[in-house]
């Protein structure tokens, strides 16, 4: 068992759907054009930022979707070369770009469609220069990549960037194995859900309701 079990807890009541965490992730990790490791999705409506229901009974809600860092990850089981693996000390699901052969079986296996993304082309940046953290991962053509809980920041004792930037403090990060952590307390106090629990993956991302 991992000595730590890092989780992200997202308060859907506080989330305003501003996409700040998504954009911050894109910048911090120097994601190339078209890549979104963390997406802000509109729940209910037909398009982005549209409400569900019929006027005047309208509702609008959001979830943010990134790698769920599952306790029982479908991706790790299928990778034929062990390029995707669990970091034993943090419980974070990692991807080794140097090992990945680009077969995309992990993308197929993951029930949370779209959180794993493939570099179909050599990475292109509309800025023309790299952005974000100097120790952000180096992206390779024809490999699969995804959210790492900002592993490069964790290594420096920092939190994932999406937590720091949220303007409505809707996101919390911490160790679920520590009963005194903020995330443990939040999950004790508040009703919550995980995405697609029926798939048996046991995600490390929780949504407060």
């Amino acid at each position: 068992m991992a000595s730590k079990h890092y989780v992200i807890v997202i308060d859907t009541e506080a989330c305003i759907g501003c996409h700040t965490c998504s954009v911050a992730c894109k910048v911090e990790n120097n994601l190339s054009d078209g890549k979104w490791w963390n997406r802000t999705l509109t729940v209910g409506g037909n398009g982005m930022d549209t409400p569900s229901g019929i006027f005047p009974n309208l509702q609008m809600g959001f979830i943010t979707l990134a790698c769920q860092h599952c306790e029982n990850p479908a991706c790790i089981k299928v990778c034929p070369v062990g390029a995707t693996y669990k970091d034993e000390t943090t419980g974070v699901v990692m991807q080794d770009y140097d090992k990945c052969i680009g077969c995309r079986y992990c993308m197929v296996a993951c029930p949370y469609n779209g959180v794993r993304q493939f570099n179909w082309q050599a990475p292109v940046y509309s800025t023309g220069f790299p952005v974000g953290s100097a120790d952000a991962p180096v992206h390779q053509q024809s490999t699969v990549e995804k959210c790492t809980f900002c592993a490069h920041r964790l290594a420096k004792g920092e939190q994932p960037f999406c937590i720091d930037v949220c303007p409505s403090h809707a996101r919390a990060f911490g160790d679920l194995n520590d009963p005194n952590s903020e995330v443990s307390k939040l999950l004790l106090r508040r009703a919550h859900f995980q995405l697609l629990p029926e798939k048996g993956t046991n995600p490390s991302v929780y949504f407060l309701t």
Binding site: R104, Y105, N113, T143
Partner: protein, 379 residues
């Protein structure tokens, strides 16, 4: 017609076969070069549909190989001298189909130069690695079996052992089914019926290719066939296609009956797809042609039914991949990470598929020309 004329005619028909299949192979090579230079983004696969027609081609040819191994093993195991002529041909088809199937994986992976890692860093828990191991076993067994078959016309102990191994390897085609049937993320694939369905389709496609090859070889005078010699393979192919259609019906009934939102969407997608009805219709036509007394003994009808059966089962594989991705588990609106249109293979993908089918046929033609695959019949 004197013999010289006959020979010239045969040589010119061989030249046409070689020229045509060679040209198709060249198209495939050109397409692969384009893909290697431009990157795999030149295909229409996307983050939401990461597998496409290459994987469909892989399943199809793996099935062809496995089914052919089973067909090759049966006459040896059960001492059926009448079918011995099929055995060598089927074992040869198995070997060539395996090569074509393997090449589909080679062109599908993003980093083919890293494929050696499958050996160095093999993760034995992955169904893909099970499949790779089975493939290697196929390759060894079908090569040894073919060599032994060509070496002697008698059934000796060693040949029997190899035939049992070939039969077991053929049945292990179900392992390719496990690559998909173990995937909880895809309602259509996550079903115990899939590995069985793979094996049935494998037998059907192998029966069809053997029928087609035998009719063509008979026309070229390479094998001597009496009117009814093909009937057992005709029956086997028909039975495989009947079971295949029953499994298709079983799939749609179980999906529709669960009435979960995802399953119902899948059923709707299926019945709205022209390809699905094409699969059902061609399957039915093949069954009728292979069972109707008026057509089941006529070589030209048999060849037509065989081609139709191969098309039917190839379409089935394409649909299988498409259906797997038809209903994303999470469908909330957000930024686009994939084109919104449905997956249709790009020009380069078609080029590679045509090329690999061409290469498969080219190798068959060369094999029938140079190896003594049908010498037994002539003697």
């Amino acid at each position: 017609m004197n013999t010289t004329q006959n020979k010239t005619q045969k040589n010119s028909s061989l030249a046409i076969w070689l020229g045509l299949t060679g040209l198709l192979t060249l198209i495939g090579i050109a397409a692969w070069i384009v893909q290697l230079v431009k990157g795999i983004g030149i295909t229409n696969q996307s983050n939401l549909e990461p597998w496409g027609i290459y994987i469909a081609g892989f399943i199809f040819f793996m099935g062809l190989s496995a089914g052919s191994l089973v067909l090759a093993a049966l006459p040896v195991l059960f001492d059926l001298p009448k079918f011995r002529p099929y055995a060598k041909i089927a074992a040869f088809v198995a070997l060539i189909a395996l090569i074509a199937g393997g090449l589909f994986i080679l062109v599908d992976v993003g980093k083919p130069e890293r494929l050696w890692r499958l050996v160095r860093f093999a993760h034995l828990g992955s169904p893909m690695l099970w499949d790779l191991l089975v493939t290697i076993v196929y390759l060894i067994i079908s090569t040894l079996f073919l060599r032994r078959l060509m070496g002697s016309s008698k059934t000796d102990g060693m040949l029997k052992v190899l035939a049992w191994l070939a039969l077991a390897a053929g049945i292990a085609d179900m392992v390719t089914g496990f690559v998909f049937a173990t995937q909880v993320a895809h309602a259509f694939w996550y079903s115990a019926v899939q590995p069985i369905s793979f094996f049935v389709a494998a037998l059907g496609s192998a029966g069809a290719i053997i029928l087609l090859v035998m009719v063509v070889l008979k026309a070229s005078g390479k094998v001597a066939l009496d009117c009814c010699d093909l009937q057992p393979v005709v029956n086997l192919t028909a039975i495989a296609l009947v079971i295949d259609l029953l499994l298709v019906a079983s799939e749609i009934i179980t999906l529709a009956f669960t009435r979960s939102v995802n399953s119902l969407e899948l059923v709707r997608f299926m019945v709205a797809s022209p390809l699905y009805w094409f699969e059902v219709a061609t399957g039915l036509i093949v069954i009728v042609l292979l069972l109707l007394p008026a057509t089941r003994r006529v070589p030209s009808w048999i060849a037509f039914a065989a081609v139709l059966a191969l098309v039917d089962l190839a379409v089935k594989r394409f649909l299988f991949i498409q259906m797997g991705f038809a209903e994303p588990n999470i469908q909330y609106a957000g930024v686009a990470i994939a084109p919104s249109r449905a997956y249709i293979p790009s020009l380069v993908e078609w080029g590679l598929v045509i090329g690999l089918v061409g290469l498969f046929t080219l190798l068959l033609v060369i094999g029938f020309r140079t190896l003594r695959l049908s010498a037994e019949q002539k003697a």
